[in-house]
Structures are given as structure tokens and as C-alpha cells.
Symmetry: D2
Subunit: 125 residues, 4 copies
Amino acid sequence: MFKSTIILNIVTDLDKLQRMVVKFRDERDWKQFHNPKDLAISLVLESTEFLEHFQWKTEAETIEHLKNRKAEVDEELADVLYWVLLIANDLNINLDEAFVKKMVQNQAKYPITKAKGKHTKYTEL
Amino acid sequence: MFKSTIILNIVTDLDKLQRMVVKFRDERDWKQFHNPKDLAISLVLESTEFLEHFQWKTEAETIEHLKNRKAEVDEELADVLYWVLLIANDLNINLDEAFVKKMVQNQAKYPITKAKGKHTKYTEL
Amino acid sequence: MFKSTIILNIVTDLDKLQRMVVKFRDERDWKQFHNPKDLAISLVLESTEFLEHFQWKTEAETIEHLKNRKAEVDEELADVLYWVLLIANDLNINLDEAFVKKMVQNQAKYPITKAKGKHTKYTEL
Amino acid sequence: MFKSTIILNIVTDLDKLQRMVVKFRDERDWKQFHNPKDLAISLVLESTEFLEHFQWKTEAETIEHLKNRKAEVDEELADVLYWVLLIANDLNINLDEAFVKKMVQNQAKYPITKAKGKHTKYTEL
């Protein structure tokens, strides 16, 4: 007797999360408002809300804040991801592909030998 | 008797992409600059670069732009994702978990019956 | 013979407003927190709060909003000006001078004959 | 013989600068593009360009930067002011009035006795 079980567990988080976002949006019939400009504004607004958590704080206060308000900080970053995923869906952007392509470019822009240990922009390297 | 279980766990884009980002950063020895405040600033800067693509444009011009400059637009969104992933790594944020948790909250904040077809903020629903 | 020269030099709003901001800040002993990075973050945060007023809205809704919520919109813009003035003070920027200089540059970048009726960035004119 | 010369030199910088902006814009026939949303986006974009000057820098590097690149930093702030003034014009906002009103509110939100020496938001004071 022979039993072969092949489990192909091809989990693609990005896809899964993206489907959640799109479903959430479509159930509320919000697509009608979702033009690229306003979607991009959301991305900016959520990013600045994330940034606000770190304003005015010393290093010690930041560490404290990240302990005491971890859940809030986590959520703000999740909010940014929400818009990244929805925008990718609406603008037909293959995030995985775009990301890998960008990383290849980054490697060309910032060769290790030149960029190591420097926070200089590639235009000034 | 013979039992063969092959589990091909071709896993999780987010993890894979995140590992690419961290590797890229660490090879360049940039962690020394990466405090939460400056990381968050990067997130904002890349988001605004994405937004800039849609400024001043009519709907027709936007469609045209998304055709002619698709690669650039895609890259800008990938840039935003880059910082989301790096921040999640450095601040020890489980993105997948935070995201699902946030979606549950969003559902409570925007119940379908109340929010359907309206672009009103939950505080004013 | 009689000669009377009265010069009433009721000067410069910018200076007056700037003095109000600095006084407000110094009475609260907040200078200790005011490094350029965090001041600039405030400028960004207030700008995005201003932007938020116009998100998701059609032209008609925008007009409506500007009627119904005029006081709030006005205040958000005043908030942006607050940080412009405080930053100028702390970084020793002569706003009036910088502004006029910038306008001269703008005229060179966007000559009327070339730029008239186009929303193209100067780099693509 | 009697000669009386009264020179009322009521200089209002804000007005003067604002007139420069509006003239510059109108000569280029750009009003057609200037809806509140896109104007507000400009305000955000220029604010983030200003912020970018202070990213990744230590205190010492910031001081150095403010010496070596002063003209650029000054210009970026002037760019922000440009949009504040143009928006105020187009949205019929009396900046001077809005500003003074806002300062009165700020004083109520942040009473000296409570706020002195703290960088806490008024909602948490």
C-alpha cells in the first residue's frame, strides 16, 4: 500500500491581506470614492499619523512609548499597509514584482562598497 | 507500508520581502542610522512622492499618466512598502497580526449598514 | 518756517505674528524641545491636517465644506503659518528676504511664455 | 509758510508677499488648476521637502547642514509660505485674523501653568 500526501501550502500573505482589504471596501460600496489621488492622500495621512508617535521624544521616551503604546503604533503601521494594498489592487500594481524590481535598482544605486556606513543620498554618493 | 509527506511551504511574501529589505540594509551597515523617528520620516517622504504623481491631474490625465509612467508609479508604491517592512522589523511589529486586528476594529468602526456608500469618517457616522 | 515729518511705520505683519509665536513658546519653556527636525515634523503634520479637509470630496462638496467649516479650515492654515514663523525664528531665516529671492528664481524657472497655461514641472517644460 | 509731510508707511508684509504670489500665478494663467485639494497637496509636498533636510542627521550634522546649505533650507521654507499665501488668497482666508484667533485658542488649550516645560499634547495635559 502506498499513500502520498503532498501539501502545497503556498501562503501568500500579501494576497490574503489584499483580499481582506478589497472585500472590506467593496462591502461598503466605497469604490466610487476611490480615485488614485484620494487614495494616495490616505497613504500620506496614515504615514504622518505613524510619524506623530515619534515627535518631540528623546530616545529614552521613544523606547518607553513603544512599550506603553505598542498596540497603537502597530495599528498605525497596519493602516499604512492597508492603503498600500488597496492602491496596489486598484492601480493594478503587482506589489511583489514591483518590490523585487525596486530592490534590484536600489542595489545599483547603493553599491555596498560605496554606501556602507553612510546615510548619503545616492545622488551625492 | 510507506508514507510520504511532502510539505512544500513556499511561504509568505511579507516575510520574504522583509528579509530582502533587512539584508539590504544590514549589508550596508545602515542600522546605526535607523531610529524610529527617521524611519517614519522615510515612510512619509515616500508616501508624498507617490502622491505627487496624481497632483494637478484631471481624471483623464491620471489615466494617461498611469499608462505612460506605470513603472515609476509602481516603484514609488514599492518604496512605501519597503519602509513599512523595515519599520515592522525594527519595531518588532507582527504586520500580519496587526493587520488582521486592525481589520476587526475597522469592521466595528464602520458597520456595513451604517457606512455603506458614505465617505464619512467614523466619528461622524 | 515749519516742517513736520511724521513717519508712522506700523510695520510688518510677519514680524508681529512671529513675535506672538515666539512669546507663546517661550512663556511655556518649550524651546528645549524645539530642534529643527521636530519643528519640521510639526509643519508636515499641520499641512496634512489642512489637506485632510479636502479629501474624498467632489467640487460641490468642497464648496459646501468651505462654507460650513470655514473657521476650522482657516485655523488649520493658521497652524501651518505658526510653524513657518517659529521655524524661521529658530533657524534664523529672514522670511521676507528668502521669499523675494525665491520668487525671482521661480520667474527664471517658469518663464511666462513657456509656462503659461501648463501645470508641467519646470524640469519637464 | 507751512509744510507738513505725513508718511504713513503701513507696510503689511503678508499682503505684499501675497500679492506677489497671486500676480506670479495669474501671469501664468494657472488659476484653472488651483482647486483646494491640489493646493493643499502642494503645501504638504513643500513641507516634506523642508523636513527632508533634517532626516538622518545628528545634532552636529544638522548644525553643519544649516551652515553649508542655508540658502536651500531658506528657500524650502519660503516655498511653504508661498502656498500658505496662495491658499489664503483663493480660499478667502484672512491670515492675520485667523492667526490671532488661533493664538487665543492655543492659550486656552495650553495654559502656562499646566503646559510649562512639557511637550504633552493638550488632550493629555
